[in-house]
Structure formats: structure tokens, C-alpha cells
């Protein structure tokens, strides 16, 4: 086993374990902290798949901005273990059944897709994900979606302010 394989397995186990802990922990603050661990593990995966810029963006936007917003809201509402609503056992059961069946279908579809089975690539090789290459494509080929996303942000900001303000 080489270094990047060990890293891949470590990151995968870390991501899955922390994703389960997000749902298992009763305290919402612990859920948010475990979710930040998931995002760091996913950023490690991006680094292995040589999307270096994306790894940094993932950490800054998710762990830095979105999760801090979640933490603020949870602390503002004073949520803790006591305010966590009790979960119905049948709801859990149906969640396991439907999620498990769909997982099964997805896994067998992946295993039977002839084009992607056995496809390998050099992990952590190449520099296509560096910001220089990304910037060139972003401002030529993807200029229109880039501008449209700024309009999306403006409307989301206006919407959040209008919804959030006191009547």
C-alpha cells in the first residue's frame, strides 16, 4: 500500500464515521462539529483527485462560512439535547429500509456499469486543478454561468433579508 492509498482509506473511513456521528449525536452543536470533520475529509479527497483550488474553496465556504452560520443560529435559539424532538421508531425503521434499498440499487448499478469498473487514474498527479488553469476556463467558457451566479447571490441576499426581518 502506498501513501496515497493509505490516505484514501483513512479519509474515506473518517468521512463515513463522522457522517454517521452527525446523525447519531443528539446535541445539534456536536452535529455541526462532526459535519465540519466530514468537510475536511472531503477536502482531502479533492486534494487526492488533484482539485486543489476546490479543496480550499470547500474548506473556506463550508467549514468557514456555512457551518459558522449554523452554529450561530443554534446558539441563538439555545438548542440542546433537551429541545431535540423525540424520534419515532417507525420513522427510523422506514428511513433505514428506504435508504438501504436505494443504496443497494446504486451500489449494484455501479458494480455493473462496464465502462467505469476497473477505471483507474494516477491519484495526486497533474496540475489541472490549479487556480491558473481554472481561472482561464472560468472567465472564457464559464463566464455566463459565473455572472448568473452573482445574480443568484443578489436575489438570495435580498430574499434572506426580506424573510428574516421583523414584520
Amino acid at each position: 500500500m502506498s501513501t496515497s492509498e493509505i490516505l484514501f482509506w483513512f479519509l474515506s473511513v473518517l468521512a463515513l464515521f463522522s457522517a454517521i456521528m452527525v446523525l447519531v449525536s443528539k446535541n445539534p452543536i456536536h452535529s455541526v462539529l462532526w459535519l465540519i470533520v466530514v468537510f475536511f475529509a472531503i477536502s482531502g479527497h479533492y486534494l487526492l483527485l488533484n482539485a486543489q483550488f476546490l479543496a480550499i474553496v470547500n474548506i473556506i465556504v463550508y467549514a468557514g462560512a456555512i457551518m459558522v452560520l449554523f452554529l450561530f443560529v443554534i446558539m441563538l435559539m439555545n438548542l440542546n439535547k433537551e429541545t431535540e424532538p423525540s424520534r419515532n421508531i417507525w420513522m427510523k425503521f422506514s428511513g433505514v429500509i428506504s435508504g438501504g434499498l436505494l443504496l443497494w440499487i446504486f451500489v449494484s448499478a455501479t458494480r455493473s456499469a462496464g465502462e467505469i469498473v476497473g477505471k483507474t487514474a494516477m491519484i495526486k498527479e497533474g496540475s489541472i486543478g490549479l487556480i491558473e488553469n481554472l481561472g482561464k476556463v472560468l472567465f472564457t467558457q464559464y463566464a455566463l454561468p459565473f455572472e448568473i451566479s452573482s445574480v443568484l447571490f443578489l436575489s438570495a441576499m435580498v430574499g434572506a433579508v426580506v424573510i428574516g426581518k421583523k414584520q
Binding site: F8, A19, N58, L69, F70, T120, I128
Partner: protein
């Protein structure tokens, strides 16, 4: 050099997606449900980057899809949290079972 099959990465992202889906089904707390949605979005991002790396290593389309998904997730989280705060103000609870006015 080491080589990891594409299917391994797809299994990881599939498992993450369904962990998120299970959370969306079972949790009744709106903040935790939103966190489960973020988990699902991230598993899809891994898929995009992995397919980009393995199938079209000379292109960047998968990376750009992921960047746009991240921007949309940020906007979505901001609006969803505004809705949750508004709901908390009127119902004093963020349990989805308590917001039943629009139920038939």
C-alpha cells in the same frame, strides 16, 4: 504510482449520500435536516470531481459544476436559515411537526 479504482470513490460518495438521506428522513429538527441536505450535496460533489478526474482528466467541467454547486449551497443555506429563524419567531420551535398550518 498508486492507483485507486473509480468504484471505490463512488462507493464512498454513495454511502455519504444515503447517510444524508437517512438523516433527512429521521430527524425532525430543521437545522439537522438542513445539515443532512448539505451532506448529500457534498457527496454529489465528490462524484463530479471523481468523474472529471477519471474520465476526462484534461477537462475542467466537473470542477466547475462543483464550484457552482458550492455557491448555490451557500445561497440556499442563507435563505433556509432566514426561513428557520422566521419560523422560530412565530412558533418558538423548529420541529417540522409543529409547522402544520399549510397541511390540508
Amino acid at each position: 504510482m498508486s492507483e485507486i479504482p473509480l468504484t471505490h470513490i463512488l462507493f464512498v460518495s454513495t454511502a455519504l449520500f444515503f447517510i444524508g438521506m437517512y438523516g433527512l428522513f429521521t430527524r425532525r429538527n430543521m437545522i439537522t435536516m438542513l445539515m443532512a441536505v448539505e451532506l448529500m450535496l457534498n457527496s454529489v460533489n465528490i462524484n463530479f470531481v471523481a468523474f472529471n478526474k477519471y474520465l476526462f482528466p484534461e477537462n475542467l467541467d466537473g470542477v466547475f459544476f462543483t464550484i457552482f454547486i458550492i455557491t448555490i449551497a451557500a445561497a440556499e443555506a442563507a435563505v433556509a436559515i432566514a426561513i428557520i429563524i422566521n419560523l422560530y419567531r412565530s412558533h418558538h420551535s423548529i420541529d417540522v411537526e409543529d409547522a402544520t398550518e399549510m397541511k390540508w
